[in-house]
Subunit: 143 residues, 2 copies
DNA sequence: GCCATCATGAAAGTGACATTCATTGACATT
DNA sequence: AATGTCAATGAATGTCACTTTCATGATGGC
C-alpha cells in the first residue's frame, strides 16, 4: 500500500501541475515508513540525520500536500502539536490516547458511528466529519 | 445555579488561600452570564466596554482558576482558540459544531458512553476523559 | 539547452497563549 | 485608621508552533 499511496500522490501532483523533487520523494518515503501520528517536528528530526539539507518549511509544506492529496490527515491530540496520520481511501477510525506515554491506539466501532448519525439527524445537523478520542492510561502504563 | 457556582468558586479560593478581588468578581459574573464556549479573547472584549482597566492576562489567569475550581472546562474545537464552557458537578456532554456559523450544540448519549467504556476495556485502557465532536452544518445553515 | 514556473530553505512574521516584574490591592494585625 | 505581608494586576515581553516571504536553485515542456 506504500506503492499505492505513492501513486495517489504522484497523480495528485501531476494533476495539479506540481513538480516532483528529491525532497518530496524523500519526505514521502520517510512518512510512509514511519509510525502513524507523527508531528512535523518529529518527521523533520527523523529526516535530519540522513538529509540535513531538508528544511523545516519543506517538511511542513509537503505534509500539507499529503493531506490535500488525501494520503494524510491532520490531527490534534491536545499536546500542542499537529500530527499527521496515514489515511487510506474509505477508511475511518478513532483514537485511544495514553496521557502518560503518548501512545496512540486506533479503533473502529460501527455502532458508535451509527448512534452519532442518529444524534446528528435528531438535531438537523448534516455531518461532515467527527472526532472521538478517549484519553487515559494505556495497558502498559497501568502496570 | 449561578449562585451555586459562585459559592463553589469562593470556597475553592478561600481553601487555596487566594484573595477575592473586584476583577475576579466581575469576570466571574460576566462568564456566568455569557454564552457557553467562550474564548479568552471573546470574554476579554466583552468585559472591555464596561471595564477597560481589566487586562487580558487577568482574564486568562482567572479562567484557568475557574477550570481549577471545577466551574469551567477548557475546550479545543480546532479553530485555534481555547474555549471555556460552564460545567456543573457530575454533568457531561459532547458537542455538535457547525463548520459554517460556529454554532455549538450539546448532547448526551448514554449508549455511546457505554460503548466507549467497552472499547477502552477491550484494549486495557483506563479512561480519564474523552471528547466526541461532530462537525457539520447546523439546521439553520442547511437551509 | 532555454526558460517560464515551481520548489527550496533561511529568515522573518504571526497569533494565541504564557510569564515577568514593578506596582497595586486585600486583609490580618496593630 | 495605619501598617505589614503577600497575593493580584496588567503592560510588556517571552514562547512556541506554525506560516509566510523572498532570494536562489531545480524542473520539465519546448
Ligand atoms: Mn489514527
Ligand atoms: Mn458544551
Ligand atoms: Zn501509556
Ligand atoms: Zn451553522
Amino acid at each position: 500500500m506504500k506503492r499505492a499511496k505513492k501513486k495517489v500522490f504522484a497523480d495528485f501532483m501531476s494533476q495539479k501541475g506540481l513538480k516532483s523533487t528529491k525532497q518530496r520523494d524523500i519526505i514521502l518515503d520517510c512518512f510512509l515508513s514511519s509510525d502513524r501520528h507523527l508531528s512535523i517536528e518529529e518527521l523533520y528530526l527523523k529526516l535530519r540525520s540522513k538529509h540535513p539539507n531538508i528544511g523545516y518549511a519543506t517538511v511542513y509544506r509537503t505534509l500539507k500536500l499529503f493531506a490535500e492529496a488525501g494520503i494524510a490527515r491532520e490531527m490534534q491530540f491536545g499536546d500542542g502539536q499537529t500530527r499527521y496520520e496515514h489515511v487510506s481511501e474509505g477508511e475511518h477510525h478513532d483514537h485511544l490516547v495514553c496521557t502518560r506515554c503518548g501512545h496512540i491506539e486506533e479503533f473502529e466501532n460501527e455502532t458508535i458511528e451509527k448512534l452519532q448519525d442518529e444524534v446528528a439527524d435528531s438535531r438537523g445537523f448534516l455531518i461532515e466529519r467527527h472526532r472521538l478520542e478517549i484519553y487515559g492510561l494505556c495497558a502498559n502504563c497501568r502496570k
